[in-house]
């Protein structure tokens, strides 16, 4: 695929790094020559210096042959305009733009094909807010991701010896809950389990079900773990865009305090947010944290603009007794450090945003895709097209479908219903099939499986 990335900032750079492959041809546009030089030294890609919304610059970047444009400059307006130009002048089929200001999201028809033709809008703030909400719903999970607009969810859980399912057959664990274990990672090897698989300590299980099933699994899981009560009290550090968005999402359901160092921003946040206690002060201030009963806090979430501050405050909060801590960082390089600092989870907005566009990077109609298990596995939501003649899966039961290795179908979302995989469940056109691929080399084979005949209208 020929892809043009507009903007060589943190996001553009991470994006370029994760899209580089033998089959992708990448061109990055930015005004800053030094940033482009660094990129070119590190990666096999081409660069063009210039204004990302100028037609001549886009032309030099190969817009006339590009399949996809991803506009992630620091300016919302440049990103939207570039998509418009990519559509009108260069007929680029897929246009993705990062738009930060919530102002633009309030008007739905703004991004229609005949208005501002953007196929996918990336709003890092709302993606981060959704991500944190999912963590709060299942804090013990290594990872929790959604499919089909949240109708289905997949959670990954690590089984410790202290925990219930260890030593049991999968079929005898939670027999009354409608879920499916799509894969188990054991000693760095992945396996597709069946009902007779016995769960061992150290296993990482990938469980799929609807939100109701997830609540049941969580209840069972947290009961077996000490220190694992539900989250009620939340402290947020940082009253910027992300902090305010999070506070307003969480304020109604949880007891939320927001700490902001800047008096003006603190005042603003307190005016905008109902149901949230806004405190003006530094989250690195020990006294402040102790006075605000940090030891009674179920979740401490550091989302200031400085990633170093976030790491330090999260560490401090943990030391002072917060049950769980989350820190926002921009660089994936911090992931390992966070582990040593005993920070429970990291929010990496660039990674969250990249995963929001993964579906578009697959061959065929993939609505959503998520990297799992540190990127070695991937879960796809494939949209089924065709009929019995033009598709290899339509009209076949799951038992009849020969899946590639290391691949399992976990569920089918049909309309509003989540149908957990079962050998006599038949695939229909229009279904969204959730597939877990635990070895990424099998992805092309999975994409081929869902292909329809070239002559299918």
């Amino acid at each position: 695929m020929k892809i043009i990335i507009l903007g060589a900032g943190q996001f553009g750079t991470s994006l370029a790094a994760s899209l580089i492959s033998e089959t992708n041809d990448i061109n990055v546009v930015d005004l800053n020559a030094a940033k482009l030089d660094t990129l070119q030294e590190r990666y096999d890609l081409r660069t063009v210096r210039g204004n990302a919304s100028h037609p001549s610059v886009l032309d030099r970047a190969g817009a006339s042959t590009a399949d996809m444009m991803i506009a992630v400059t620091n300016s919302d307006e440049t990103n939207m305009l570039a998509c418009q130009i990519g559509y009108t002048l260069f007929h680029i089929s897929t246009k993705i733009a990062r738009v930060r200001s919530s102002e633009y999201f309030s008007y739905k028809n703004l991004f229609a094909q005949e208005a501002l033709p953007v196929d996918l809008l990336i709003s890092p703030e709302s993606l981060v807010a959704e991500y944190v909400e999912r963590i709060i719903a299942f804090p013990e999970a290594q990872q929790i991701v959604g499919f089909a607009g949240g109708r289905a969810q997949m959670v990954s859980l690590r089984c410790t010896t202290a925990y219930g399912p260890v030593g049991r057959k999968l079929s005898s664990w939670l027999p009354d809950v409608d879920y499916r274990c799509t894969a188990i990672f054991r000693n760095k090897e992945s396996m597709v389990p069946n009902g007779d698989t016995v769960i061992q300590a150290g296993d990482e299980m990938f469980l799929l079900g609807d939100p109701q099933a997830m609540r049941q699994i969580r209840a069972e899981f947290s009961e077996a773990q000490q220190n694992s009560r539900s989250i009620r009290r939340i402290v947020l550090a940082g009253g910027g865009n992300i902090g305010k968005r999070l506070a307003s999402h969480l304020g109604n359901d949880y007891h939320v305090k927001l700490i902001e160092i800047n008096p003006e921003q603190a005042r603003q946040a307190s005016e905008e947010l109902n149901n949230v206690i806004v405190l003006q002060g530094s989250a690195t201030d020990r006294e402040l944290l102790i006075n605000e009963n940090i030891d009674q806090t179920d979740l401490f979430c550091a989302v200031t603009e400085s990633e170093e501050t976030n790491l330090v405050t999260a560490m401090l909060a943990k030391e002072l007794g917060a049950t769980r801590t989350i820190a926002l960082v921009n660089s994936p390089a911090f992931a390992e450090i966070a582990n040593r600092l005993h920070i429970d989870k990291l929010i990496i907005p660039t990674q969250i945003s990249i995963s929001a566009m993964l579906g578009y990077l697959h061959r065929g109609d993939v609505a959503v895709a998520h990297f799992l298990h540190g990127g070695t596995a991937e879960a796809l939501e494939a949209v089924i097209h065709g009929d019995h003649d033009s598709s290899r899966v339509v009209g076949r039961t799951l038992a009849e479908i020969e899946l590639p290795k290391h691949t399992s179908i976990g569920a089918i979302v049909r309309g509003q219903n989540v149908l957990i995989a079962h050998h006599d469940l038949q695939i229909q056109t229009g279904d969204h099939v959730i597939v877990l691929v635990s070895d990424k080399h099998e992805i092309p084979a999975v994409e081929s499986l869902f292909r329809v005949a070239a002559t299918y209208i």
Binding site: D67, S448, A453, A454, I457
Partner: protein, 147 residues
């Protein structure tokens, strides 16, 4: 294939990408069809490609799409000077492309026809002949000849 017209056939066209090929096909398709919006034609073909590539085998592609308010299908053909990446099932590059715009309201009426025509196009002997001819009129005759 009654929907092809002689002036919608081109030979030895130098193009370097699937996108350029689709754009060139759209230009041919709207010839004699002033009512057709080129953007709408291109978008309907993109929409079909997103579902799954229309690459047949043996270097042939059959890009198509559905467009509302058309009386009948419209077809065009391009022979390229060299192959381009098209994500075909056999992995081969594509240098022959037959495009068709089908009325949305037809409800599957043309499915059998398109499937049959696809079989003919992907036939190794037939595609080799299409490749060897460098004259649009001759290719037109070959494509529209009865079975």
């Amino acid at each position: 294939m009654p929907w092809l017209k002689p002036d919608r056939v081109r030979c030895e066209v130098p193009l370097s990408s699937k996108k350029q090929l689709l754009e060139a096909l759209v230009k041919l398709l709207i010839t004699d069809n002033p009512g057709m919006d080129p953007n709408a034609v291109l978008n309907c073909m993109y929409a079909r490609e997103r579902v799954s590539s229309t690459g047949l085998c043996n270097g042939v592609a059959l890009p198509h799409g559905q467009l509302p308010n058309q009386e009948h299908p419209v077809a065009a053909f391009i022979q390229l000077t060299k192959g381009i990446n098209y994500d075909a099932p056999d992995g081969r590059q594509v240098d022959l492309a037959f495009a068709m715009v089908i009325p949305t309201e037809a409800n599957g009426e043309y499915q059998v026809c398109l499937s049959g025509f696809g079989d003919k196009l992907r036939n190794a002997d037939f595609s080799a002949r299409l490749r060897s001819i460098k004259d649009p009129a001759h290719i037109y005759t070959l494509l529209t000849a009865p079975e």
